[in-house]
């Protein structure tokens, strides 16, 4: 189909642009749509799609870094502590990938998509931020912090609870990130927001800091292994970056219900397609 390099690269960039815009607007990240797009539309081998996607995750998260730190929302200690978990998880995931056949990878991806769509339907409200000093480990490790809240016109002090449960969830997020080539941003935010009861703005900011580091862990391994194809990863990274840039400037931060439901349908459809693909592939 693609006998011309130009058409191939242009098509990849085009799809990546769309993914980047949607990802920035909906906050669910591009990897979730990128890997299905590359494998279903372009028929690229799953592992190369994952390799290209994980590189684009690094690009978008590093590019977006400035905004959050500017508001002094990122808790560096918290992020560093949790990074031990996410990177550990990513290495576990990268190793797991060698054990799973391509068929199982497709199935795990399909399951993740289906769970994500369910998650989006039951969008949790802002959870209660734990008052008080948090759990003993939060104090021992000095994981708490404060940030200026414009609405309340004062500094809000916070401290996480269930620190080790959060650590475990972050490990899981790292495994998924490496295994599927995604950012696992929503899962990270969920872990910090619901499990550790951190303020949502701190969760989002810190999650963004961690996503790039998590992705780099597996990206490094895949790069050395040879699963990152330059002709594929380069246009994907550029496309997603450009799309994210456009997406954030579109100022459509909180999507309307209609867009959300449409997106949930898309996730479901992709999930089904990936599951079907699992049974098409020859075992690698």
């Amino acid at each position: 189909m693609f006998d011309s390099v130009l058409w191939f690269e242009a098509a990849i960039i085009g799809m990546s642009l769309v993914v980047g815009v949607l990802g920035a607007m909906l906050g669910i990240g591009g990897g979730v749509m990128l890997v299905p797009g590359l494998t279903l539309l372009f028929r690229v081998d799953l592992r190369y799609a994952i390799g290209a996607s994980i590189v684009s995750v690094i690009a978008t998260s590093s590019g977006a870094a400035a905004a959050y730190v500017r508001d002094h929302l990122t808790n560096l200690r918290l992020a560093t502590f949790l990074n031990v978990a996410t990177v550990g998880g990513a290495l576990t995931g990268a190793f797991l990938m060698t054990l799973l056949t391509t068929r199982w990878l497709y199935l795990v991806f399909a399951l993740m998509l289906l769970l994500s769509s369910v998650f989006m339907v039951r969008m949790p409200d802002a959870s209660l931020v734990a008052a008080g000093k948090g759990d003993p480990w939060a104090q021992r490790l000095r994981l708490g912090g404060s940030f200026p809240d414009r609405v309340l016109a004062r500094d809000v002090v916070y401290s996480p609870v269930r620190v080790w449960f959060g650590f475990l969830l972050m490990w899981l997020a790292g495994v998924l990130s490496a295994l599927l080539g995604i950012g696992s941003g929503p899962l990270k935010v969920l872990a910090m927001d619901s499990a550790m009861r951190l303020p949502i703005r701190v969760s989002s900011a810190s999650s963004n800091f961690m996503i790039g580091v998590t992705a780099a862990a597996s990206a490094g391994a895949y790069f050395v292994k040879g699963d990152i194809v330059p002709e594929l990863a380069a246009p994907v990274a550029i496309g997603v970056l450009g799309g994210a840039l456009v997406g954030t400037h579109l100022m459509v931060r909180m999507p309307s219900q209609r867009i959300r439901y449409f997106f949930i349908l898309v996730l479901l459809a992709l999930g089904v397609q990936m599951a079907l693909r699992a049974f098409e592939v020859r075992v690698r």
Partner: protein
């Protein structure tokens, strides 16, 4: 201090994007980008030599010659390296604040990242 860090990262991403874009444009203009790879890629095949980077000297040699593939690889290496740099610089920040626990913790993260590269070689 940490603001400098994120601006540095953004600059890094920009540099990578420029390198990658330049590499892509030239590869399209020259009609290269290992055309033999593309048909196989879009048939879902496993490529014999897909992304394998044989050695640092090979990359540098490729850059000197002006190989577009080497430029793409260089851009990707830089992109992947950005979070590594971020972790190191955060460690420096902790050092400046004399937060030794977190300096060590951050170096643990860095060590884990590096071991990922070893893992890749073993896989």
């Amino acid at each position: 201090m940490d603001l400098w860090l994120s601006w540095l990262l953004r600059l890094g991403v920009l540099v990578c994007a420029v390198i990658l874009l330049a590499g892509l444009v030239t590869s399209v203009a020259r009609k290269t980008a290992t055309p033999s790879n593309l048909p196989a890629l879009t048939r879902g095949e496993v490529l014999a030599d897909a992304g394998v980077v044989h050695s640092w000297s090979a990359v540098v040699a490729g850059l000197a010659v002006g190989s577009t593939r080497a430029w793409l690889v260089a851009g990707l290496i830089l992109l992947i390296a950005l979070p590594f740099v971020r972790v190191l610089l955060t460690a420096v920040l902790f050092g400046i604040e004399r937060d030794w626990l977190y300096l060590v913790l951050d170096l643990v993260v860095f060590a884990l990242l590096m071991s990922g590269l070893l893992l890749g070689r073993a896989m």
